[in-house]
């Protein structure tokens, strides 16, 4: 597959994620859109890793492995982030019974 | 204490081995598996019925004498004795020419027992001076409506000893031998 396709696909996913972050008000959905962004990155990294593998496999059999490992690390971190993030959201919900980010304006005054 | 099976409750804190329950679970599983090989106590009911005890009180039967005449004189003692007030009846005068049907001059034109109320205590049997009602060894079959549980005289009457002797004998059951 031409690498271009993967670049555009993941950028599109990334942009969709960003649009979600910008337009939605529900904290959980915003968070999900962020996860979507991370996944777009993951896809791109894997595609690149295979690209580099194709280019450099002769010189280095493991060429491109690092890209996939990075994806692995991103997943690991995302898992940790989710646990913390949801804990925060739940804590918030316990207090104000809403996850609407538009209510997050108490700090403004 | 009588059975000597009571056990003092042990509230000591559990040791580590106890607290993982493994041994106890295995013990329990041993108990259950041992039952796999035990004799099954179930009876294959319709094919195989369980014999009733001698004193079993089953469905009511309105008795006839040897000649097939009804014993009941509609005296109402059974209805009075009934603690559940399940029995109602209407009396009628025996007309001439009906002597082969009824033993006495008075008979029950209508005799109903509401089986939903009846508690099968057998007091009606005790009260009857004519030996007209007794509790057999059969059980009330299931039914779809309430109506069906109000047993009419026809449902209660014992088959005619002359016309259907086998059915009569069967309905009589072991009661016959007692009497």
């Amino acid at each position: 597959m031409p690498i271009n396709y993967y670049i555009f696909l993941s950028i599109a996913l990334f942009a969709i994620g960003i649009v979600g972050v910008l337009t939605r008000r529900n904290a959980i959905i915003i968070f999900m859109c962020i996860e979507l962004m991370l996944n777009a990155v993951n896809l791109l990294l894997v595609a690149f890793s295979k690209m580099h593998h194709l280019n450099n496999a002769v010189a280095d059999v493991t060429a491109g492995t690092d890209g996939q490992l990075f994806v692995f690390f991103i997943m690991v971190v995302a898992a940790a982030e989710v646990s913390v993030g949801l804990a925060i959201i739940v804590m918030m919900y316990r207090n104000i019974h809403s996850v609407d980010v538009n209510f997050l304006n108490r700090l403004k005054h | 204490m009588l059975t000597q099976r009571a056990k003092q409750v042990d509230r000591k804190p559990m040791t580590f081995l106890e607290s993982i329950y493994l041994w106890n679970i295995l013990k329990g599983m041993g108990i259950t598996i041992s039952h796999l090989f035990k004799k099954k106590v179930t009876i294959n009911y319709p094919e195989q019925t369980r014999s009733f005890s001698k004193v079993w009180r089953g469905l009511h039967v309105l008795n006839r004498d040897e000649a097939g005449r009804e014993n009941c004189t509609a005296c109402g003692l059974c209805a009075v004795a009934c603690p559940a007030e399940a029995i109602t009846m209407e009396a009628a005068e025996r007309l001439p020419g009906e002597e082969h049907l009824y033993r006495e001059e008075k008979y029950a034109a209508k005799y109903e027992i509401n089986m939903l109320r009846c508690i099968f205590c057998g007091l009606c049997e005790e009260a009857c001076p004519k030996d007209a009602i007794y509790l057999s060894q059969s059980i009330a079959p299931a039914n779809y409506g309430r109506k069906g549980f109000i047993y009419k005289k026809e449902d209660l009457l014992i088959p005619h000893p002359k016309e259907e002797p086998e059915a009569y004998q069967k309905a009589l059951g072991e009661k016959a031998t007692i009497n």
Binding site: - | G28, M29, T32, H35, L36, K40, T42, N44
Partner: protein
């Protein structure tokens, strides 16, 4: 386009199709008869006889049950979410069936032409991990169903079930890692081959097996971990609003899960299709009988495990929810970790 179609290895597709069909059929069959066995075993353990009316010894009972479920009225609650309400049981069923893809059911079958047909739908490199991934997705069936019912008991049950499954996946995976230390591969086929060569893993990993087994119970929502269906607390659990075949799917999915998890356990710890103490390859059986024999061996082992599932169900009372979580997080996970570390240490020592 045509060239592409021609280029496809249709024979392979056919072969796999047959295999898949066979396994699905087998799964259904086993599941059906596990319901029967459940009742039978329950009866036996309680000194009863169990179903014996439909057919000789009641062996047609599952068919009767199925028929009954089929012909019952389909009720979809008005306030429920219609699409998800249907999706729930479907997902449960799909995930339950998918798991069987990587299990090697028998020794490979060699045709006359010399081509080898593995008795395994796909010998994936990730093997056991695939099972895990599918199992982890299986949670959705329960959650979606429970939520879509729009009934708080269902919801609570669904959440209980899901959290239970998520929690017990961890010790399960950790216990598994110790096995993977031994085999050095995630491929199911290699795991089995390794056991054929070096003896069953249960010898090396008794503790690991125990943990795995307990987790398998929890994953299948079986007693003593059947909290999602705790009738006396939650009416009927997450499938309370379900009726007819949708309910049937849930129930079936549970039994299929039992079957598959037994198969996985057998494959991982009890040598898969291996017959213990003998070297069956030396018997000189032809390939078909060899496959058949190994298949019956694995099925026997699975049957044993299914029996153990049932046996446990009728022995041990249900856990309380906090006990369940305590067991999972505070006992099993540390235990599994210790097991893992010890295994690793021993392997390192022996290799030195």
């Amino acid at each position: 386009m045509i060239m592409t179609l021609i280029a496809v290895d249709w024979w392979l597709i056919l072969e796999k199709g047959v295999l898949i069909g066979g396994i699905i059929g087998l799964s259904f069959f086993i599941a059906m008869y596990t319901t029967y066995a459940e009742r039978k075993v329950a009866a036996w353990l309680q000194d009863r006889r169990g179903p014996n009316r439909a057919g000789p010894f009641g062996i047609l009972q599952p068919l009767a049950d199925g028929g009954k479920l089929f012909f019952k009225e389909e009720i979809i609650p008005l306030a429920s979410n219609r699409f998800l309400f249907i999706l729930g049981p479907a997902l449960a069923m799909i995930t339950a069936l998918l798991t069987s893809t990587v299990i090697p059911w028998a020794t490979p079958f060699v045709t006359k032409g010399g081509s080898v047909i593995p008795m395994q739908v796909a010998d994936v490199d990730m093997g056991i991990l695939l099972v895990f991934s599918i199992v982890s997705v299986g949670v959705y069936g329960i959650m979606i169903g429970g939520w879509a019912s729009n009934n708080k008991f269902s919801l609570i049950a669904a959440i209980r079930g899901a959290s239970q499954m998520v929690s017990y996946e961890l010790p399960m995976g950790l216990a598994l890692i110790a096995v993977l230390f031994l085999t050095g591969s995630l491929k199911m086929s290699e795991i089995v081959t390794n056991q054929v060569q070096h003896g069953w893993h249960i010898i090396y990993q008794p503790l690991g097996f125990l943990i795995f087994f307990i987790c398998a119970l929890a994953e299948c929502n079986r007693t003593p971990f059947d909290l999602p269906e705790a009738e006396n607390e939650l009416n009927f659990g997450y499938h309370q609003e379900y009726s007819s075949m949708k309910l049937g799917f849930y129930l079936f999915a549970e039994y299929i899960n039992m079957f598959i998890s037994s198969a996985v356990m057998v494959t991982l710890y009890f040598g898969g299709y291996d017959i213990p103490f003998v070297n069956e390859t030396s018997w000189g059986l032809n390939s078909f009988w060899m496959s058949f024999l190994s298949f019956s061996v694995i099925m026997t082992k699975i049957a044993f495990f299914l029996f153990v599932f049932l046996w446990i169900r009728w022995t041990i009372p249900r856990f309380r929810y906090d006990q369940l979580m305590n067991l999972g997080w505070k006992k099993l996970i540390p235990l599994a970790l210790v097991n893992m570390i010890i295994t690793a240490a021993v392997i390192l020592l022996l290799n030195k």
